[in-house]
Subunit: 200 residues, 2 copies
DNA sequence: CACTTCGTTGCACACTGTGCAATCTTGCAC
DNA sequence: GTGCAAGATTGCACAGTGTGCAACGAAGTG
């Protein structure tokens, strides 16, 4: 927890500039129509530098900040005696709060995805890394083995889905409904065992 | 439902040859280390022809047959009064039976994925098309709207996850446990509302 | 036997993503 | 402040992906 340091700060600035340029250009022309070269130019850095920060073009759109292990941190903060599902749900609420702090940008990102159906899979693709981390955090909390036991992997996978579906609905409603409530609906349906189409 | 015709048959042969060559080479060297050019050569066709059948390299590994809408068909066959979750579960059992008919090949495909972690996301990526189809089939059955109602999209997403987790477990156990039973365990946990780590 | 349809092929091309080496700036110790 | 190590940026070359286009030939149709 030492001082960030000038070097680290400039690095984050570069990443942020690239992410911002990506978002702006993608909103304008669609991500597919924008080349990495254009993004780098708009951010004032070289083509090669782009790949020092992001390994894939999509990453610049969908992971503007560094690889945050926020879920694991938030999960660890929950009361130890809380069952896994409520604990994970509370942790994800915190993650969603972070997203909500950047409302406009995230709604724009979701718009870019909605406008280019081919990109939706890539969003999911980026999400698998987080899903893996989530599974490991759940395994650590429950004392299970992430590789042999069913529960951690299944819960993480299912919650990732709920998150994805929720973001999709949130965007389709113009971000007017509170993200929190939409996610709550999804998790409630899960906790009830997907009994049937009760929630319209 | 007319006769397939010689032309159509040859087309399927070409696709099958490409898929088989892809699997063989990928098992041997890993998919990333194999180029499309090598695959095409091994299948006895030109480089360009590969992309007449598959739009992405991964597709040749993970979708050896044509784009089958098997789930929707199987779902339509279920008793109309059956609730959505059991109906979808039964339909997916049929899909899994199809996979099981090709046991060895599918276990090999899963091995290729397991050996190359970077590929797992791409599997998910390919799966999103099926997920969308699944959501539409469920929407049609329940009379809900796939775009505005929560239920179809959520159920399809969650079942896709269960399927993915199940295939993963199946492979890790060497394909010895019946695919059917592993999937049943996952869906049981879902139907129970993910109460806690009861199923070890 | 025309005539259409369509899968295959070759070619050119824009772009992605990587390895490598050079350069420059920051952080740190003396 | 001077020198040195760490690391971020850059340029260059390169393998490979995926696409558009036009030509060719075999399969389907009358």
């Amino acid at each position: 927890m030492t001082t960030p340091g000038l070097r680290e700060r400039k690095k984050q600035d570069t990443r942020a500039a690239l992410a911002a340029a990506t978002l702006r250009l993608a909103v304008e022309h669609g991500l597919a129509a924008v080349t990495v070269e254009q993004i780098a130019a708009a951010a004032g850095v070289s083509y090669r530098t782009f790949f020092n920060h992001f390994s894939v073009k999509e990453e610049a759109l969908l992971r503007p900040a560094g690889t945050e292990r926020t879920f694991a941190v938030h999960l660890a903060e929950q009361e130890p005696q809380l069952p896994p599902l409520p604990a994970a749900r509370a942790a994800l609420r915190s993650v969603l709060a972070d997203l909500d702090a950047d409302r406009e940008a995230w709604l724009q990102r979701l718009s870019v995805i909605a406008a280019e159906p081919d990109l939706l899979p890539r969003l999911v693709e980026l999400g698998t890394a987080d899903e893996r981390a989530m599974a490991e955090a759940i395994a650590a909390r429950t004392g299970l083995d992430v590789d042999t036991d069913l529960y951690p992997g299944l819960l993480a996978a299912v919650l990732s889905c709920a998150l994805r579906v929720t973001l999709n609905r949130w965007h389709r409603r113009g971000g007017r409904e509170p993200l929190d409530r939409l996610f709550g609906e999804a998790v409630d349906a899960l906790a009830a065992g997907l009994p049937g189409p009760s929630a319209a």
